[in-house]
């Protein structure tokens, strides 16, 4: 019964609506705009309907959007959302008024017909998927436009059908809300009940088929639910931009989590937020349709996830890369200290900054900045009025590890991979920072615990790493593997 928490979550989310709205209400105290006050006072029923409507559309679109994004069907969603337009017009023609149920049925049927036509074009012609989607999208939309413009010129027309193009949250009425609530609950319920089935067919359809899942039926059900969520969002967002409410919140959620159920929850949450913000702004202004505002709000959410996401966010990645290169820099400094010490056969503990700078072919200032970085990480201490550094036990251990990694790798490339000794150094410069403990053990075994690298230098051994507390004083300190 894994889906129970999911359903409970959504019920909670819906129940928490008033509480959440109260919080926004507090903010409105500071706002000076009359419209905003009116919005947050919730006295106006149209405000209530608009908010509840955007919550419902956020949930249903986020939920279905999660599936189409992971299934790489995003543009199928776009096609479906354009294809409902003729259905909207025919639903209106049914009794010449904006009857939510008639429009709902018409739109759903048109959407399904569009989906079927895409599949049929793919199966019976050489045209590729993108072309098939484009044909259905544009043709159905054109039929819809012809019908709408025709209806506008017919006698007895009450007008206002173009609200369906770009959406108008203010025009949502009581009967719309009831329908949206029913359809959304149905979608949530179905996804909750058949979560497992939807998940497995989305991830690996071939496996699902082999495992006996009715893949085709599940796919039809998904298309149906997709059509449902398009229709739910139709009134507030409009035909043209519904696909954005499907794709963008789900894509933002996809950047933040690796688990499908969390993705669906986050997508629904983002959908709700974008919907509410869009509805709010559209109340402040008089002449901007609601749909584009909701879409821009959703894009903002995506942009935030894109830049600030904890794992995949661009800023986090940039920061991780920076700290990694700082670590590599520190380790290279440690290695340089080791080389200096090695050159004078480990005679004396301190390494002057001048020696370090010469070794790394850098200026004195650069060497100073690097030794400061080492001190900050407790790898070294400064002596002689800051002109020389001594490695701490941790620093010494890390230096030995890096040098060992480098020389082992050079040896491995030369001996086992038949690469010329003068080609291995650059490779080792990169590899030394990423070799893990286990790989190093494997390398040792492969090399029969060799003690000298291809250039004849001693490879610091395990003993040096462990007994790193008092390593200095005698040339024998760096023992290599011979002593073991």
């Amino acid at each position: 019964m894994r889906h129970l928490p999911l359903i409970a979550g959504f019920c909670l989310l819906a129940a928490a609506m008033p509480v959440w709205a109260d919080r926004i209400g507090d903010i409105s105290e500071t706002s000076v705009i009359e419209q905003a006050k009116r919005f947050f006072s919730f006295r106006d029923p149209s405000v209530r309907y608009a908010l509840i409507g955007s919550v419902l559309l956020g949930i249903s679109c986020g939920l279905m959007g999660g599936f189409i994004v992971v299934r790489k069907m995003a543009l199928f969603g776009d096609t479906l959302s354009h294809a409902v337009l003729p259905g909207v017009a025919l639903g209106f023609l049914w009794n010449m008024e904006k009857d939510p149920v008639a429009i709902f049925i018409g739109a759903t049927l048109a959407g399904l017909l569009g989906g079927a036509m895409v599949a049929l074009i793919r199966q019976t012609t050489r045209l590729k998927e993108d072309t098939a989607l484009g044909i259905v999208l544009a043709s159905f939309f054109a039929v819809g436009i012809c019908l709408l413009t025709r209806i506008q010129k017919m006698p007895g027309n009450k007008g206002g059908l173009d609200e369906f193009l770009f959406g108008s949250a203010a025009s949502i009425g009581r009967s719309d809300i009831i329908l949206m609530a029913v359809v959304t609950s149905l979608a949530v319920l179905l996804v909750g009940l058949f979560y497992k089935e939807f998940l497995v067919t989305s991830f690996d359809a071939a496996f699902a088929r082999a495992a006996g899942f009715p893949v085709n039926i599940i796919n039809y059900a998904l298309t149906l639910l997709l059509a449902f969520s398009v229709v739910v969002a139709l009134r507030a967002v409009g035909v043209v931009l519904v696909s954005a409410m499907l794709i963008t919140p789900a894509a933002a959620a996809y950047l933040l989590t690796d688990r499908m159920h969390r993705l669906l929850g986050l997508a629904a949450l983002f959908g709700v937020i974008s919907g509410a913000v869009g509805a709010f702004i559209s109340f402040l202004t008089t002449n901007i349709p609601t749909g584009p505002l909701m879409v821009v709000a959703a894009t903002m959410v995506f942009a935030l996830a894109f830049f600030f996401g904890p794992h995949h966010g661009v800023l986090m990645r940039w920061w991780r890369q920076k700290s990694r290169s700082a670590r590599v820099q520190r380790e290279n400094t440690l290695k340089a200290v080791y080389h200096v010490l090695e050159a004078r056969e480990f005679d004396g503990e301190g390494v002057s900054l001048r020696e370090l700078a010469e070794r790394r072919r850098e200026t004195l200032d650069e060497a100073r900045a690097q030794s400061d970085a080492l001190c900050k990480h407790h790898m070294a201490t400064l002596h002689d009025d800051g002109d020389a550094i001594h490695l701490t036990p941790e620093g010494w251990q890390r230096a030995c590890e890096i040098v060992r990694n480098h020389r082992l790798w050079e040896l491995y490339l030369t001996n086992e991979a038949n690469i010329a000794p003068d080609h291995v150094h650059e490779d080792a410069e990169i590899i030394e920072h990423v070799l893990g403990e286990e790989t190093v053990r494997e390398l040792e075994r492969a090399l029969n615990h060799a003690t000298r690298d291809p250039h004849g230098r001693v490879i610091p051994g395990l003993a040096d790493l462990v007994s790193g507390s008092t390593p200095f004083g005698s040339p024998e300190t760096v023992t290599g593997y011979t002593s073991r």
């Binding site: 993108d130 044909i135 054109a142 436009i145 894509a251 584009p292 894009t299």
Partner: protein, 348 residues
């Protein structure tokens, strides 16, 4: 339902536009034909490169460029529009690339995010500035060919030219005394269509190879990346010039329908290109009369007519049509089973 479908009258809906209403009819049909030709020729290559939906994306995002131009209170002359469209087209290509490269969001979702965001931004900017609720958004969606300003383009001619042009058919529409009088937008679209046709002709080899086999194109010294970006730039320009008359979404139909129909009918690129132009002409003509009859959006009717032609081709195409396929399957059943397996394996 009678109100939805008015009675069709041959005289009123087919003859009259070409006699009494010839002046507007000619310009509208020409405009539609130029738009469909320019879009269709270019669209062929989008179809071949499996980029039909990138065409969709760019045609939507161009609106953001126009919106920015509107907000900056720039004059919407040809040059400004082209620059705005180019910038928006390149921005879309870039945003798709960035989302695709830096996140794990797949290409299709990246396309969806990029164009809906830019389109929404465009709608907001335009309605913010215009202060009127519906007028611009409608035009954005399905354009209005009938609103194309007529006949304020004047060109004085030498008497010799006047004599020559006078002999052309329907000269009474565009010849006033010794002046050539034309609709400027139609003339501009005509130039765009001509430019596209010329480019397709001049760079036929390069477009063909880089679409078919980019690796071979490279080894022949053709820069496939450059061809890609040039195509996107050309697409932006074509889309923005078609914008006023057919709007953002129906442009997609103009891009894809002619080429897709032609692909069902032939397997030779030159023939396909010719069929594309034929589809453009037929779709425009039929669409125009459909719109006259139903009194609905002309651009929408162009597309509906184009769609009808596509459905016809899909049904009746000699090789790939549904009827032909059905016929083949029926004939196959009459042959012994071994025959079927051997022919089908030879076909693979």
């Amino acid at each position: 339902m009678n109100e939805l479908l008015p009675v069709f009258e041959w005289q009123q809906h087919v003859i009259a536009p070409w006699t009494t209403g010839l002046k507007s009819t000619l310009w509208i049909v020409l405009m539609g034909f130029f738009v469909a030709t320019a879009c269709g020729l270019l669209g062929n290559y989008l179809i071949l490169r499996r980029m039909a939906l990138v065409g969709d994306a760019i045609s939507h995002s161009v609106l953001a460029g126009i919106g920015v131009a509107v907000v900056l209170a720039l004059q919407l002359d040809t040059a400004t529009l082209f620059i705005a469209a180019l910038a928006a087209g390149m921005a879309t290509t870039l945003i798709i690339e960035i989302i695709h490269r830096y996140t794990r969001v797949k290409q299709d979702a990246a396309i969806g995010i990029a164009f809906t965001s830019l389109f929404a931004l465009g709608v907001i900017l335009i309605s913010f500035k215009s202060g009127k609720v519906h007028i611009d958004t409608e035009c954005v969606l399905y354009g209005e060919v009938a609103l194309v300003p007529l006949e304020n383009f004047h060109l004085s001619l030498t008497p010799a030219l006047v004599g020559a042009i006078d002999k052309l058919p329907m000269s009474e529409v565009y010849l006033r005394g010794n002046e050539l009088v034309m609709a400027p937008d139609v003339v501009r679209m005509g130039f765009v269509a001509l430019a596209v046709a010329l480019l397709v002709w001049v760079f036929y080899k390069e477009l063909l190879v880089s679409s078919f086999d980019p690796a071979l194109a490279f080894s022949l010294g053709i820069n496939a990346t450059f061809v890609h970006y040039a195509l996107m730039a050309l697409l932006s320009v074509v889309v923005v010039s078609a914008f006023e008359s057919v709007g953002a979404i129906l442009v997609v139909a103009m891009l894809i329908l002619p080429g897709a129909t032609a692909h069902l009918l032939s397997a030779r690129l030159p023939v396909i290109l010719a069929l594309t132009v034929l589809h453009a002409a037929l779709g425009t003509l039929l669409g125009f009369h459909l719109a006259t009859w139903l009194n609905c959006s002309i651009a929408g009717a162009f597309v509906v007519a184009g769609m009808a032609l596509f459905l016809l081709a899909w049904l009746l195409s000699p090789h790939d049509g549904l009827l032909a396929q059905w016929h083949r399957r029926r004939n196959l059943k009459l042959e012994p089973p071994e025959e079927i397996s051997s022919t089908s394996s030879a076909g693979n």
